[in-house]
């Protein structure tokens, strides 16, 4: 097996507000292998979308990649010039946007938009080839070929989302980034769409990043789950390990707070609020809400470190436990 499809090193993205840079993504490291599905969860505002956009260099002013590197399929994304970047996008990495409702150009047909995309990257295909490809793709995502000649507003939310999926795989990319692809859909439709997405992704053998905050959805869809908190990656574990043995205290509380439709259990929340951009406390950003925060947590920001077989966590307590030291030693 060759190296990872995606490799993020020390990536930081900042927003410039009133002449000051606020980090929305800090020092993220992540690798992704071909065919792998990773989920990224986190509270609203934790930087998930910012990270996703940065992975395609689609972030807009006032966002700026402050440092780090992103390599996709061996290409260093950040060093690409304008035109190479344009060609690179979608060819290697595509995305399924957060709001499929608004991501299709409302005034042209599905066919036009798909043709557009193909034409922007290859001039060789004939019109007939392109049409055949479009219809084939639509069928692959479970849509009628007739959908090609409809306008976005003539489609239901689920159909639009499927069109977006078809669009995402039109150039058979190595990496697909899906930012909350189903958050606007109801559960019945959501299930169908996610299953379609999983299907086409595994057929292509592409790597996939699925962003969201629905833990149930993640549990059913990904191989690995990463948690973002205040712009950092704080937890990264294979999906079963994550649910059965959450290491980071935030992950633990998150799982505890999930209501289940299948049983009655008391509701428990995570007390406190996520810190706002630029108002990060010293030390571990989670320590004000952490039930077992110690002195060290107040002063030192824990790095994301290996904490088990193929899993990482950013927590002093986890690190201490792994180092075989006990709680007192750390605080002492």
């Amino acid at each position: 097996m060759t190296g990872p499809v995606l490799s993020i090193r020390n990536l930081s993205v900042t927003y410039r507000i009133a002449n000051e840079d606020f980090p929305a993504v800090s020092d993220v490291n992540l690798d992704l292998a071909a065919g792998e599905r990773i989920g990224i969860v986190g509270e609203s505002g934790s930087g998930k979308s910012t990270l996703a956009l940065a992975l395609m260099r689609l972030h807009k002013h006032p966002a700026r990649i402050a440092s780090g590197s992103v390599t996709i399929g061996g290409t260093d994304l950040l060093s690409l010039g304008k035109e190479p970047l344009r060609r690179f996008r979608w060819d290697r990495v595509s995305m399924i946007p957060q709001g499929a409702m608004n991501s299709l150009n409302p005034v042209t047909t599905v066919r036009r938009q798909m043709t557009d995309t193909i034409r922007a990257h290859t001039r060789e295909l004939s019109k007939r080839d392109i049409n055949a490809r479009i219809e084939d793709l639509l069928e692959r995502v479970g849509l009628d070929r007739g959908v090609a000649d409809l306008y976005p507003h003539e489609l239901s939310g689920g159909m639009k989302q499927r069109v977006c999926i078809a669009l995402a795989i039109v150039l058979e990319p190595q990496l697909i980034i899906a930012d909350e692809p189903t958050s606007a859909l109801d559960v019945v439709v959501q299930r169908r769409v996610i299953e379609t997405l999983k299907d086409v992704q595994s057929q292509l053998g592409a790597a996939m990043i699925l962003i969201g905050h629905d833990m149930g959805l993640m549990a059913q869809s990904v191989d690995r789950l990463a948690v973002m908190y205040a712009g950092r990656l704080v937890d990264d574990a294979p999906i079963r390990d994550f649910f059965h043995d959450p290491q980071h205290p935030y992950s633990r509380l998150l799982i505890d707070s999930l209501p289940s439709p299948d049983e009655l259990k008391p509701l428990t929340g995570i007390p406190g609020m996520q810190p706002g951009l630029g108002r990060l406390p010293d030390g571990c950003p989670f320590h004000p809400r952490c039930p077992n925060a110690a002195e060290v947590c107040r002063n030192i920001d824990p790095p994301l470190e290996l904490s088990g077989p193929s899993r990482r966590a950013a927590c002093h307590m986890v690190a201490a436990a792994r180092a075989g030291r006990n709680f007192e030693e750390v605080t002492g």
Binding site: M95, Q98, Y151, H153
Partner: protein, 330 residues
């Protein structure tokens, strides 16, 4: 496009026309003064001693049906209007109102429509570029200039242009639509007509460009945040394609709606521009008709103006669904 939609627009069209026609009929009738007396006065002031002026006035009042009760006049007017018989001009008797209007209309349409569309096109493009992050810096430098222009009304601009480009420098003619009435339709005549149309068109275009540019800029800024633009960029489309096919195409929609209203305003603005440039169009005709209190002509012109604008609005409304396929939903 649903029939319901078409039906509603067409009904609206007739409502506008009927309303306009009625207002048209009533307003001049509340004006003091008697059009026939006015004609006589014109003669008398030229020095003709008219005996029995009252008789002549009466004679003409009868001829034009001005003595009938108001409602009879109203229905007759509506009926005639329906048949596109706008009656006879009093001051240009025996020329009919329709023929007087037909003489003037081509000039106005030529001048106004062309320059409004030029202003619309250029303004929208410039506005779109101003808002477009990838546009050259030089374009952004236009903003203050455009703002100034859009703040200055047509006719003040017309006066300044007239002074600068025609009066003091003599580069352009001082007014009129041609040097000598076109006797044949050859190349020279066409050039002459275009030459005469330059300044009035320039003042309409200049004043309009700023307005359209600013409107388009607002619409573009609204569009820029849309998800489909981000996706278009993500798809690796060429910037030009994103600009025209995605951003401009969508930002244009509200502009097209204002075009309808702008045509109405432009029709009004034309009065002043035409008067300033002595341009033999509808606006100039209206001005003269008002001056000579020619009821029927004033009515006819106002009616034709409203009708033209109403037709333009109707066309825009009917074309709009093709520009914006979402519209049929409402």
């Amino acid at each position: 496009m649903t029939w319901n939609y078409v039906g509603r627009r067409v009904a609206m069209f007739f409502a506008v026309v009927l309303l306009a026609a009625s207002a048209n009929f009533l307003i001049p009738r509340f004006a003091p003064g008697d059009p026939t007396a006015a004609v006589l006065e014109q003669l008398m002031s030229r020095g003709q001693q008219v005996e029995g002026a009252g008789d002549i006035v009466q004679e003409y009042r009868e001829r034009f049906g001005l003595d009938d009760p108001l409602h009879i006049q109203y229905f007759r007017y509506l009926w005639n209007t329906l048949r596109f018989d706008l009656g006879q001009s009093i001051s240009f008797f025996p020329q009919t109102v329709s023929s007087a209007i037909l003489d003037a209309l081509p000039w106005t349409i030529g001048l106004l429509l062309v320059s409004t569309f030029i202003a619309f096109g250029v303004g929208s493009l410039v506005g779109a570029l101003i808002a477009w992050p990838g546009a050259p810096r030089a374009v952004k430098a236009l903003v203050p200039g455009l703002m100034m222009l859009s703040a200055i009304p047509y006719y003040l601009l017309a006066l300044i242009i007239l002074y600068a480009l025609a009066f003091s420098s003599g580069i352009f003619p001082l007014g009129g639509a041609y040097s000598s009435y076109p006797r044949s339709f050859d190349f020279e005549t066409v050039v002459d007509i275009l030459y005469h149309a330059c300044l009035p068109a320039l003042s309409i275009v200049l004043a309009g460009v700023g307005f359209w540019a600013l409107g388009m800029r607002g619409a573009m800024i609204g569009t820029l945040g849309e998800d489909y633009l981000t996706l278009a960029e993500a798809k690796g489309l060429k910037p030009r394609r994103i600009f025209f096919g995605y951003a401009v195409r969508n930002a244009m929609l509200p502009q097209v709606t204002s075009l309808a209203i702008a045509l109405g305003t432009a029709a009004s603005g034309s009065v002043l521009v035409e008067v300033a440039f002595n341009y033999p169009g509808i606006g100039f005709l209206l001005y003269n008709a008002l001056r000579s209190s020619d009821y029927f002509l004033v009515q006819g012109i106002a009616f034709v103006l409203v009708l033209t604008v109403a037709i333009a609005v109707l066309i825009l409304d009917l074309v709009y669904p093709f520009l914006d396929p979402r519209i049929e939903r409402q």
